[in-house]
């Protein structure tokens, strides 16, 4: 919920090591470490996506919206309910899976919209400069100044809570966030000699942008988007928690936490389980973003 920093992206904790001072054994350990840091979070994310999207297709899960009061409050590992059931007898694992679907759907949609619209605007602003840049930058400033959560709440309140509304509302925040990164990266690229060379060779502006600018800023955009994806998922969870996100009885991690709030002191697992799901998801996204930044050496 603290916003990612569009202009100053979080520095990777593993900048490329200076080209000296590692003996052969340390080098091997370093390489192994780097590979692990990339593939472990990537693997976890793939696993999560598989569980949320593929598993329901393969295995019939108990209903995530309707439950049997008789079997309510079952603990984890009860027959038929791996993670138990909630107060109303709804299977927790199912809620987790379908809630995860929502989280990823919203997150990925907002990120893609952000890249498509924000990225384009950012590149245009940086490439053309002048008043175009001034206008677009001010627009970004205004959108970012607006507290994302508040905007989302207000939209949800006015138009009614729904997944689409959540996506629109969070896009208002996602667009300038990606936009600023795209703009910054393009500005950096623009000054490089090969850009001047391309222009001097008479390359059309459009080709310069697609052939030269975009491929070079993609690493920045991708690593930033992974971080942003995590933030969006947390924000979406916040909306659900407040009741203005995905309307119940559709499950979401946020409203699972909200429901568990009442019995926090006696049965904390109702809050802990979705919280841990959130944590694992966002942590994997962050770690993957870090690892990619390390590998691609972006700033």
């Amino acid at each position: 919920m603290v916003a990612p920093l569009p202009d100053i992206t979080l520095a990777s904790p593993h900048p490329p090591p200076l080209p000296s001072l590692v003996n052969a054994r340390r080098l091997r350990t370093q390489r192994l470490g780097r590979a692990l840091r990339l593939w472990v979070p990537a693997g976890v994310l793939i696993l999560l996506l598989a569980i949320c999207f593929l598993l329901p297709l393969v295995v019939t899960l108990p209903s995530s919206t309707k439950g049997d009061i008789i079997v309510n409050n079952e603990p984890p590992f009860s027959p038929g309910h791996i993670l138990g059931t909630d107060v109303q007898g709804v299977d927790i694992f199912s809620k987790l899976v379908y809630g995860g679907q929502v989280a990823f759907e919203v997150g990925i949609s907002v990120t893609l919209i952000g890249i498509a619209i924000g990225g384009t605007l950012g590149v245009i602003a940086a490439y053309f400069g002048g008043w175009v840049d001034a206008v677009i930058s001010r627009l970004f400033d205004i959108l970012i100044a607006f507290p994302a959560l508040v905007l989302a709440l207000v939209i949800a309140e006015g138009l009614g809570p729904s997944e689409m509304h959540v996506i629109w509302a969070l896009s208002v925040f996602g667009i300038p966030a990606v936009g600023r990164v795209a703009r910054g990266a393009t500005l950096t690229i623009r000054g490089l000699p090969f850009m001047t060379a391309a222009r001097l060779a008479g390359t059309r502006r459009w080709r310069v942008i697609t052939r030269h600018v975009v491929p070079n800023i993609m690493p920045n955009i991708v690593t930033f988007s992974l971080l942003g994806l995590g933030i969006i998922i947390i924000l979406e969870g916040a909306l659900d928690f407040l009741g203005w996100g995905i309307p119940p009885p559709k499950p979401s991690w946020g409203n699972m936490i909200a429901n568990g709030q009442q019995i926090l002191s006696v049965q904390p697992e109702y809050v802990l389980i979705p919280s841990i799901a959130l944590l694992i998801t966002v942590a994997s996204l962050n770690m993957l973003g870090d690892a990619l930044r390390e590998r691609w050496g972006t700033q």
């Binding site: 919920m1 603290v2 916003a3 920093l5 569009p6 202009d7 100053i8 979080l10 520095a11 990777s12 904790p13 900048p15 200076l18 001010r138 627009l139 400033d141 205004i142 959108l143 970012i144 100044a145 607006f146 507290p147 994302a148 959560l149 508040v150 905007l151 709440l153 207000v154 939209i155 309140e157 006015g158 138009l159 995590g230 947390i234 924000l235 969870g237 916040a238 928690f241 407040l242 203005w244 936490i257 709030q261 926090l264 002191s265 904390p268 809050v271 802990l272 979705p274 919280s275 959130l278 944590l279 966002v282 942590a283 996204l285 962050n286 770690m287």
Partner: protein, 343 residues
């Protein structure tokens, strides 16, 4: 007036003229001025955006005031009195004029929005400041310890903890804190009570501040640590300091940390927007009597004036925060303050 000043300056002694020129033409002042000017369109834009969003919603203020049983005619009449049926730009203009006069309107409950804000703003500001100060101080300490030996034990721990802070949702963390510190250990109350003095301040606001601050701490630590390690490894002035025979801790703190503070200030300024959103949720969870809580209540009650007022206030804080960070940077960075060579 400029002409008068000029002639006066010409008659003054060279030293004074020099000084006056330096102050008026000081790069720092000019930069601050430019930033302020740039902030104005943003503020206007934000106010417009706020108002537009609010207007796009079905305005049920009149309905809410009169209650559900009111007749459509009465609602329409009240709408007219409140000026809610006027065209958009007229309403915006009236609202803007009111806002600039400091009048944020009357809430559905019949209270003056200003009054509401004034009551609860200090609590929210106190909470935010608590979270901010604590996270900055801790971040500086931890980042310095980590940067002293990159990839050492302190460093690895700090990286793990900050990854956790970045990845955990503040609301989830809040519940974790409640389970551990309020329920199991009983050190803090689950729900925040009124803040009447220093003791109640810390007792009631520590858990909420920690919920907000953990994420901040994570970001600040990572950035500071990366910045300091970068300096220690790649900057020439660090080698000079070592060549002087300065001890490693002193080099780290007096040279690297000093320069990293600039980055830190910028980050703090940029982050204020997200801070505000987090505050709203945390206040609700802990029932802190701040404007974040009011905002959410207002939304639930369809209290448009109140929500408008608070949203504008939050947006203002964000813009001002950014501005302050810029100004602080301009004032503190000697390269900006003193401009280029004066030889």
């Amino acid at each position: 007036m400029a002409l008068v000043q000029q002639t006066q300056l010409q008659q003054a002694e060279p030293g004074a003229r020099d000084r006056a020129r330096r102050v008026a033409g000081s790069p720092a002042l000019r930069m601050v001025g430019r930033r302020l000017l740039a902030a104005i369109p943003v503020l206007i834009g934000v106010s417009l955006l706020t108002f537009t969003v609010m207007s796009a919603l079905p305005n049920t203020t009149a309905q809410a005031i009169l209650g559900l049983n009111a007749s459509p005619a009465a609602v329409a009449a009240l709408n007219h009195t409140l000026g809610l049926d006027q065209p958009f730009w007229q309403r915006y203009w009236h609202w803007l004029v009111n806002v600039l006069h400091g009048n944020l309107g009357t809430s559905v409950q019949g209270q003056n929005v200003n009054h509401e804000l004034a009551l609860h703003v200090p609590t929210t500001l106190g909470l935010l400041l608590y979270a901010l100060v604590a996270s900055v101080v801790l971040a500086i300490i931890v980042a310095t310890l980590a940067a002293r030996k990159p990839n050492g034990i302190a460093d690895r721990i700090s990286l793990a903890v900050s990854m956790l802070g970045l990845s955990i949702a503040p609301y989830a963390f809040a519940f974790l804190l409640i389970i551990v510190f309020a329920v199991k250990l009983g050190w803090f109350p689950v729900l925040s009570g009124a803040v009447t003095g220093p003791a109640s301040f810390f007792k009631n606001l520590t858990l909420p501040a920690a919920s907000i601050g953990f994420g901040l701490f994570a970001i600040y630590t990572r950035i500071l640590r990366a910045d300091m390690v970068e300096q220690m490894q790649r900057e020439d002035y660090i080698v000079t300091a070592k060549a002087k025979g300065v001890a490693p801790w002193r080099v780290l703190i007096k040279h690297a940390l000093r320069n990293s503070m600039f980055t830190l200030i910028t980050i703090i300024g940029l982050n204020l927007g997200g801070l505000v959103g987090a505050a709203a949720i945390i206040e609700t969870i802990f029932q802190v009597q701040g404007i974040g809580n009011d905002l959410l209540t207002g939304i639930n009650n369809h209290d448009v004036p109140l929500v408008e007022g608070i949203t504008l206030f939050f947006a203002l804080i964000t813009v001002l925060g950014s501005l302050l960070a810029d100004i602080a940077y301009a004032v503190l960075d000697p390269r900006i303050r003193y401009g280029s060579s004066t030889s």
